[in-house]
């Protein structure tokens, strides 16, 4: 892939922007009001529906088989995004917009930025096993990690605990980054972690950049590229309710086609977050009613068709109602730290492990969080993220602004 092509990765269509320039993709007042009222009604129902709220489809159309889902909306390869990020940073350097040795990239959860940074041909700095390191050891640890240039920290949220002894590592790194004495490298940082540290160190300036939010048009381009890239023909996706087209993207040769507002609404729902948008997109895809599942594994046609369920017919995971603070504490901690294991969760929330297990069990049954056997961490799920963010914001927790 050439540098020019790399910089045009659909997830970086808006380029890298300063976090202060970030704006929520537009939506109508009606939809904002509807979402607000729905949120209030959900809170009112809190004591009446304590049962699990696992996903249930609200329409009758069959879901896609995993083989077709993988063909139409596969999980992305992050290497091209990593290359595009480097190209975008080079452009910023060449234009004089970025003059520091280290680059600081903020990203929304599930945006794929940490995975993309891991694919770069740079030395990955992993967090130490002990995050509650004594102050005296922290400087020496960073000296060792940063002594050679061209390093990358894919996710800074892995380097701290919201514990009185767990702030030292990032505080030391931030101090070095602020005076640009950390060498040549790239730091990826989750927007939730970033928000905390901006409040903890209000005068901090590390020249951060972040990918611009994806608009509806960007999503259409991206989904189109993801679907069957080898055939070059692409996917035709139409709405189940009115037959309007979602894919392929509008073009001059297809002017007569009516296109759906689904991508725009999806961009708003996902707050321009590619990971959340892709998760919802995968959930929304439907097969034709007359298609049998046995035909799914056939070789792809030149053009393939599928249907898209409207957003209001999707039952996305909701945070189960609770009258205690443990649900909020757990979800907030998981987002601040990019996922945690039980022991660390107990350290940062101050809740007993038994109480945590009860809360985690409820959240898992509701599909809001999931346990990764590889990393031994509980993580918020992209499909549940929009509701988790709303839930935390409504309860006064500090949330990211993205």
């Amino acid at each position: 892939m050439t540098e020019q092509a790399e910089s045009k990765h659909p997830c970086l269509a808006g380029g890298l922007i300063h976090p202060d320039q970030w704006q929520l993709p537009e939506t109508s007042v009606r939809k904002t009001l509807r979402a607000g009222i729905r949120d209030i009604l959900l809170q009112l129902k809190a004591d009446f529906s304590m049962a699990d709220q696992a996903y249930q489809s609200l329409d009758d159309l069959p879901s896609l088989s995993s083989a077709r889902l993988q063909r139409y909306a596969p999980l992305p390869d992050f290497a091209p995004l990593g290359s595009a990020l480097l190209s975008a940073l080079d452009e910023l350097r060449q234009s004089g917009a970025h003059t520091r040795k280290a680059c600081f990239l903020v990203s929304q959860p599930f945006s794929g930025l940490p995975e993309a940074l891991e694919t770069l041909d740079l030395r990955v700095i992993s967090p130490p096993a002990n995050l509650l390191m004594a102050d005296a050891d922290i400087a020496a640890w960073w000296d060792e990690q940063l002594m050679t240039d061209d390093w990358v920290i894919p996710e800074l949220a892995d380097f701290w605990l919201r514990h009185r002894s767990g702030l030292g590592l990032i505080r030391e790194l931030m101090a070095r980054l602020a005076v640009d004495q950390a060498g040549n490298g790239v730091v990826g940082c989750s927007s939730w972690c970033w928000q905390f540290w901006c409040q903890y160190l209000p005068d901090l300036y590390v020249a951060p950049w972040m990918p611009a939010p994806l608009t509806g048009e960007c999503l259409v381009d991206w989904f189109g590229q993801l679907a069957m890239p080898d055939t070059g023909q692409g996917l035709t996706a139409r709405m189940t309710n009115d037959g309007r087209f979602v894919l392929p993207a509008p073009s001059e040769s297809r002017e007569s086609r009516k296109h759906s507002l689904f991508p725009k609404d999806l961009a708003t729902l996902a707050r321009g977050n590619p990971g959340v948008a892709l998760a919802v997109w995968r959930r929304a895809l439907r097969a034709k009613p007359e298609e049998s599942e046995s035909g799914d594994v056939d070789a792809p046609d030149a053009t393939e068709h599928c249907w898209v369920a409207p957003l209001d017919r999707l039952s996305l995971p909701k945070v189960p109602p609770s009258t205690t603070v443990s649900t909020g504490h757990v979800l907030h901690s998981l987002l601040l730290h990019n996922g945690l294991d039980l022991e660390r969760l107990a350290q940062v929330t101050g809740l007993p492990e038994q109480e945590l297990q009860i809360t985690l069990g409820r959240l898992q049954r509701a599909d809001v969080i999931a346990f990764s056997r590889d990393s031994h961490r509980y993580r918020v799920q992209p499909l549940g993220y929009p509701d988790v963010r709303r839930y935390l914001q409504a309860r006064g927790y500090p949330v990211d602004r993205f």
């Binding site: 209030i40 009112l44 009185r164 702030l167 903890y200 940062v348 500090p398």
Partner: protein, 266 residues
């Protein structure tokens, strides 16, 4: 007082009109009763601003219903001419002035409260040494629930000549303060930093609101005040407890002795 004016004003009252008016007043009272009981219950299921807005709507709805009822009832009973109105309201005013002076004072104060809004349902206020959350604003009184779950009924009239402190003033931002007294022989800067970390790492802290730690030398020892905002005003007690526990744990780790019974020495 010209009693002939009242007589003539009331002469047109019929039994039917009286019954209709009574029915209307009963219906309005029932509606007010339902609103005062149900809305706080619904509001308690919400959090954040929707809860505050819903609670604040109760007195306004009640005032609206009362005004509407008066507008509907008066023409049923008396012919709404200028003379009749002066006569009726004059008589009512005189009766209230003499017989129910304090009651009337609280009623008027209650109406003033609705537009001056020194407190609203959901506010945390302190009046005459009583601290609690305003649960409802009645016609004559304000009901406050203390941290120990006692209901304190305060006549609105008390507020004419009493000092009142409002902790959150219609918002959901309520600053809380946790205090510790410690032995003076320690590194003050280090303790300030550690206490600040303690606040920022409490899961109940609203980190986007100001966080302050102050220190002052008292007779009893060094007084540290940890000031911050909890995620919700309702969490103030667990929040202050959490901050205090964190501060005590830091003192223990640092080997700085806490001062027992500081209030006896200061």
């Amino acid at each position: 007082m010209d009693t002939s004016g009242i007589k003539s004003a009331l002469s047109s009252i019929t039994v039917d009109a009286l019954l209709s008016a009574l029915l209307l007043v009963v219906a309005a009272s029932l509606l007010i009763f339902l609103i005062q009981k149900l809305v706080p219950v619904i509001a308690d299921r919400l959090s954040g601003k929707p809860r505050l807005y819903l609670l604040a709507s109760v007195p306004l709805l009640r005032l609206l219903i009362i005004i509407l009822t008066i507008i509907l009832v008066v023409p049923m009973l008396v012919e709404p001419s200028f003379e009749n109105m002066v006569a009726v309201f004059g008589a009512v005013g005189l009766a209230l002035g003499f017989a129910f002076k304090d009651y009337a004072t609280s009623l008027v104060a209650g109406i003033v409260t609705l537009y001056e809004m020194p407190y609203r349902p959901g506010d945390w206020i302190e009046v005459n040494g009583h601290y609690g959350e305003v649960r409802s604003i009645g016609t004559r009184t304000v009901d406050m629930v203390t941290l120990d779950d006692s209901v304190v009924v305060i006549p609105h009239g008390v507020l004419w000549n009493s000092l009142m402190a409002n902790g959150n003033d219609g918002t959901d931002n309520l600053m809380c303060v946790a205090e510790v007294f410690i032995d003076p022989n320690h590194d003050v800067d280090r303790m300030l930093n550690l206490f600040r970390n303690a606040i920022f790492t409490s899961p109940l802290t609203r980190t986007y609101q100001p966080v302050r730690v102050t220190v002052s030398a008292q007779k009893a020892g060094m007084q540290y005040r940890l000031k911050a905002y909890p995620i919700e005003p309702r969490e103030q007690v667990p929040f202050v407890s959490d901050l205090t526990a964190r501060a005590v744990a830091i003192c223990r780790e640092e080997g700085v002795p806490l001062i027992a019974l500081p209030w006896q020495n200061s």
